[in-house]
Amino acid sequence: MADATLLNLVLWLPVIGIAVIAATPRGADSWVRSLSLAVMLLQLALTAILYVHFDPARAGLQFVTSRPWIAAWGIDYRIGLDGINVLLVALTAFLGPLVVAGAFSAIQKDVKLFYAMVLFIQFAMLGTFLAQDLFLFYVFWEAMLIPMFLIIGIWGGERRIYATLKFVLYTAFGSILMLAAVIYLVYSLNATTGIKSFAFADLYGSHLPLHTQMWLLAAFGLSFAIKVPMVPLHTWLPDAHVEAPTTGSVILAGVLLKMGTYGFMKLGFPLFPEATRAFTPALMTLAVISIVYGACLALVQTDIKKIIAYSSISHLGYVMLGLVSLDLVGIQGALLQMVSHGLVAGGLFLMIGMIYERCHTRDIAAYGGLAKLLPVYSVFFSILTLASIGLPTTSGFAGEFMALLGAFNAAWPQHVAGYDLPLVLAVIAVSGVVLGALYMLWLAQRMLFGPVKALHQPLRDLDARERAILIAIVAAIFAIGLYPQEPLRKTELAAREYQQIVMSGRGHHGSLP
């Protein structure tokens, strides 16, 4: 039952959904909402089947579809699941229905177009994760920009045009450099070995000279670093998050940011292993700067969404730290942190959306004593705050701890050999945990506790739909936090493979199923 056809169905289901939505008559908003939710739930169910049938003991791709697409240039339509993208695909499918359900009361105008865009971006995101051909990957990567541009630009806040243009131009600039690098890479592979192929497996473990590799990694890395986002390429994120509607923020924080780290892990580093090893100190420094700088900036924000936006920069710094540590624990911690951050940040943005619908302000100073007014809301908010900090038993702890442990594992032998920088950086990274606790707890204190501020009273507490969404997220957070072995089992072989390719630079040729 679980096979390549099912994977194709999972990928293309949102497109079928868009076609059906386009056919609904104008004004049938509730039909559109129910339909979108049904499509997303169906996709989640099918993805769950694939997830359960994903065999952790088999290396390489599973459920592969490989058909020639543009044969003259060696481009295939090639999709598959492996240990790296299986978790991220599951995350995307999990957040899908939550995103759709979360927007029911928030979006009232152009509802058809909105849900069509949400389904479109779901399709593009899944395609980016599933693509195993560099051209296909690039097409999906660029395709993500269009619906996001519209979601922020049409249903966003006051400065939405500025924010959405900034987002698109920033990201597209990186992507164009990446395209140049892609073309050069494929051309050079063809010139040296005569193989004309865009498939990932053919391109890994590049045999290009170090100098060329460093330029190409810089081009790929720029595009991915903008998406992660890494300091100093991060300034599009706060603006995009603040001006986007809740749905846009959840999609952005929940999945889109993982594209950058996924790109590094699947493409940037394995394609250019020697350059990665040469750049490791610089990458580690940038990761630690992201952690600390993001946390410091989160501390001084007055807009709730901006705090979570900067905290995302900080949390994804841990992912980068784990990835460049090239230690198995660190790599798996990075993957886990990707999933955890998607759940926690997505949940926090959903909660901010819920309170914004009630009080129409994102200014922290306007909130106070919410624990008295909205007790159920406050419970969920506190749980998500603690998950963001990385409290043990939540998924945040597993990811952060493993990433830091990986960084120390990698830094210690170098310290013993006399090279102290990685150890110093790892120690500084740990301070990010303290800073994370600082701004999140302070936010929770100001919003939930203290004197009750005069808001739009009476406030209604969470209704059944909102509770269902948050219960799903919290359940997932605790499930991963209490039993991380389950998701980690599926990633282990792929993580080892990644480690092997980057550390030894050995090519991956000939392992296509």
Binding site: Y170, P232, T235, Y293, C296, L297, V300
Partner: protein, 124 residues
């Protein structure tokens, strides 16, 4: 070692019983006799205030003024918005080439043709 720690417990218990065992009166009398010591102890040695002034406020100041103000707003966003406005101003200046005057365009076309012919004649 363990006995010493238990000793601290017992001493603390005994001290509390001594001061408060018979109501608040003795406690208040002691507070009046040693006001500065009382302030120090009830202020929890002012450790919180020390941390706030040594770490909390400087961190907040540096984050707000330097990281946010200079780093994010001035350097990064400043250069980005600056590049954008540079592109706009350059486009504005360059667009002056579009004069809309047919005679000018014909003149440019003729000059171009003459230049091409001259180049071809020069380079055989």
């Amino acid at each position: 070692m363990r006995r010493h720690i238990v000793g601290f417990d017992i001493a603390g218990l005994a001290g509390a019983m001594f001061v408060y065992g018979k109501g608040l009166a003795r406690g208040e009398a002691l507070a009046a006799r040693f006001p500065r010591l009382h302030r120090l102890l009830s202020g929890k040695y002012f450790v919180d205030e020390l941390y706030e002034s040594l770490l909390g406020r400087p961190l907040h100041w540096v984050s707000e003024r330097i990281f946010l103000g200079v780093g994010d707003r001035f350097l990064i966003d400043g250069s980005l918005n600056g590049m954008a406005s540079l592109a706009q101003r350059a486009a504005g200046r360059l667009s002056r080439v579009e004069t809309g005057s047919l005679q000018f365009y014909v003149l440019l076309a003729v000059a171009g043709v003459v230049g091409c012919l001259a180049w071809m004649w020069r380079n055989g």
